[in-house]
Amino acid sequence: MNEVKVGVFLSDCGNQLSKILDFNALTNYVKDVSDVVLVKRNSEFWRGEGLRIIVDAVKGGKINRVVVAESLPKLSEVSIVQAVEEAGLNPYLVEVIDLKDHCAWPHRETPKEATEKAKAMLLAATERAKLLEPIEKLEFPALKSVLVIGGGIAGMQAAVDLADLGFEVDLVEKEPFLGGLAARAGRFFPTDDCAICIQSPASDVKTITHTSRKCVYRSGFTEIPNLNILANSKVVGVEGVPGNYKVTIEKKPRYVNELKCVRCDLCTPVCPVEVPDEYNAKLKTRKAIYMITPNVHPPVYVIDESVCKFRDCAKCVEVCPTDAIELDQKIERVTLNVGSIIVATGFQEFDSSVIKEYHYGDYPDVITNLELARMIDGFGPTGGTIIKPSDRKPAKKIVMVQCVGSRDRRWNPYCSSICCMISLKHASLIKTAYPDTDVTVCYIDIRTTGREHEYYYERAREMGVKFVKGRPSEISRDPETGRLIVDVEDELLKRFLELDADLVVLAPAMVPAEGTKELAEILGLELEEDGFFKEYNAKLRPTETKLRGMYLCGGATFPKDAPTTSLHAHSAAMKAAKFLITGKIVKDQRTAVVNEEYCGDCEFCPVTCPYGAISLEPTSEDHIVARISDLLCEGCGICVGTCPLNAIELRHSRPNQMLAQMKALMSINGTSKPLILTICCSECGHAAVDSSGMAMMQYPANVRVMKVPCTGILQVHQFLEAFKVGAQGVMVVGCKSDGCHYEVGSQQAEKKVALARMLLKEYGIEPERLEMFNMVYIEGDKFAEAAQTMTERLKKLGKLQLMEGS
């Protein structure tokens, strides 16, 4: 390896820093550090003249390691690293530190101590720089194709977006027809238009402007050349890595050839099997060979294999003029190769029958919102009239019950968020069509939080819909008349009401679609406690998962209305496109690497890795070692902290680099105060230190900061090493334990700290010399306070006494 030549560049921030720090002393000090061949001082180094000094030094081969002390390190680091790379040096041989926010400003009242700390910081950066190794950029192939799971409005929208962008798209729907839950809803708020109205694809021959929106069947959606629709199918297996997944799809037999069926409807009249039509709330019957509504896709009949008599009957086969019916069809397995996967599996209604006092499933005239929607739909089983299912006579008095199984800690503690609007929409539609129908809504709170939503509430009141604040305790049935009675307290009147009703409509909670759990297992995705898919970050990355290449949209993450679902779908499509668009995934190798000589026969790391990047593979010598995928590894180092054999290292945070840094930080003691090593994660922890400095909060200069990618990388022996190299106390500063940027790193570190404290006690060292703190960027005051408290505590404890030879 070439001789190490370090260049150190000190920015004095337009002489602002030199008012506090003694720059002459600093320059003289650094000059004498071994392997330092160049020291320069300027007002800034990240642009203009300053940056040119660095570039020239690199280009001339004068230096091959760069240490820069610059303010705004993140901003400046980007341009420095870029320039260094262009000058021909590996960009990972650059170390940037912040002498302003981490030293001068928070210690402005103690300039002498601050200068000593600055020396230590520069030494630490130099020592680390000397040990840095070049890191390569890796490229992985990415297929420009996407699998969308779920053919409801979310899945269809995402598929259209991606197909329009030129990606090959496979859309898988488990039911025989597309549309999902939305298609059954008939009409949507807040536009009151049809549920099956979608945005037309760009490829549609009739689509000339962006104003085009059309019914699914006439949108041209199904004819997009690069969109492959697989109805009646489900995902049964996924292998591979982001950018290159191999997905196995199981296609259930339809028993009707999609290419031959002409929808002549000769088959259904001859079919002798008649069963209740689930799709239409069992308000009508259908045959074994059927279609849910006339306007669906694919426009092809399907045979319900659970009730068809097949060869014992085969009447449909006889009448079919195109020989489309194929009773011998078998389950087919299809393999797809895709670059990424979008999950759009949606939600469904909660089974209200478990709430016994409401008698759903017991009294036929107690129905759900979705069943009512089928009645309101002109294509529905009643052609738009609202009837009592028990005797099919018109329902004149309707009571709606909100929050059935929602906001209910026995079933689903969350608010399903769309049911109030659904009920208001239904109440208004009923009142519009049948003004003399009496509609009463029993509610706990009416929630109309979207644009135009409050207007639905207002309109319903204007139309004469009655509202009762109170959750009904029971629905009973008059044994003589058969009419329903809803017991409820009108809380505002403090009066007990017995509302009689022809029809009671429950607003059930929305819960994850059937099969969500199984699919999550197949894909390796996590679910939240509520059973919905877990997004990577609810605030910033609502359609991403912690696995790159897998995205979520629509009701799969939580119940959503149509506008939010559309937004979500666009977002997921965007993310998938962004990931695949160049046809390759570029990633640097700041990843973990296993020393196979030490590794073997334990299973800690694959279990702890939040990204599934580690697999166990047998080697020739008949033992098992861990292998880390450079593509999946996010470089957090949690595996490093977990490995009991010290067999894993991060290429950019090797133990020797950390130890050298530690030693350097603890080597210069400029005050009589006890030295404290603060180990920060590179995310919230380091940001909290930044923010305390930015706000010029004062804390003692004996607190010295070392950055690691995530506190999860830390091992117990490292805390002991810190004391050995001179620390009187150690602070570990990480993200909030439920807000760790690497999921579990903070929690892992907490465990390590607890363990180390026990060990310290054994060694006769006060355990309170070591403490973990969790904070976020805006808690700079918390950091300054913690630094103060720790210093006071250590002063009281006195000097650390280490045993000989320890």
């Binding site: 006092e357 929050c403 906001r407 209910d408 800690r409 026995r410 706990i444 709170d445 604040k469 109170g470 959750r471 009904p472 305790s473 029971e474 017991d487 409820v488 307290e489 809380e491 403090k494 007990f496």
Partner: protein
């Protein structure tokens, strides 16, 4: 201003007092849906008791109104409300907690202190009246003998039940 602040701290204390009591832990979960009131057989026949209202008043810190009134003593402990509460508020148990607090404060309806006295003295809640004694042979039942109350008194002394009775006597 100062007064208002003081009042607030007392109010705060009342819901804390309830949640720290056995049975009262869940009271703060209540979101006033009214399922309890509508399920309550007592509330149906008298406006003097409404479980939803008792909880609301308690959470608002209306300590005196809750503890000095007779509402909390009217609950018949059918547990209908508790069975149906969507927030898993243990309503009937909250009422018990409130009763316990009321007793500590010296608010115990006469009938209950009579019960207590009877229990300590005779080992029964319902005294054996001449009427009862006459009636029992007619129904083919044996006549009642006095029960041993020593064991009971031991329990009362350990649990502090006898003191509660005394406090009441002092308070009244």
């Amino acid at each position: 201003m100062k007064q208002g602040k003081e009042e607030k701290t007392t109010n705060q204390a009342f819901s804390d007092v309830i949640t720290s009591r056995l049975g009262g832990e869940t009271i703060t979960l209540c979101y006033q849906c009214g399922t309890c009131a509508s399920s309550c057989p007592v509330a149906r026949i008298t406006p003097r008791f409404n479980p939803r209202e008792v909880i609301k008043l308690s959470l608002l810190g209306e300590k005196d109104e809750v503890l000095s009134g007779d509402a909390i003593w009217l609950c018949c402990s059918c547990y209908n409300c508790q069975e149906r509460c969507p927030q898993k508020v243990e309503i009937a148990d909250v009422i018990y907690a409130l009763r316990n607090i009321a007793v500590k404060e010296g608010n115990i309806p006469n009938i209950y202190s009579e019960f207590a006295a009877e229990l300590i003295n005779e080992g029964r809640i319902v005294p054996i009246s001449k009427f009862l004694e006459k009636k029992r042979p007619d129904l083919g039942l044996p006549s009642l003998k006095p029960v041993g109350v020593d064991a009971l008194r031991k329990i009362f002394s350990i649990t502090g039940f006898d003191k509660i009775k005394q406090e009441k006597a002092e308070a009244s």
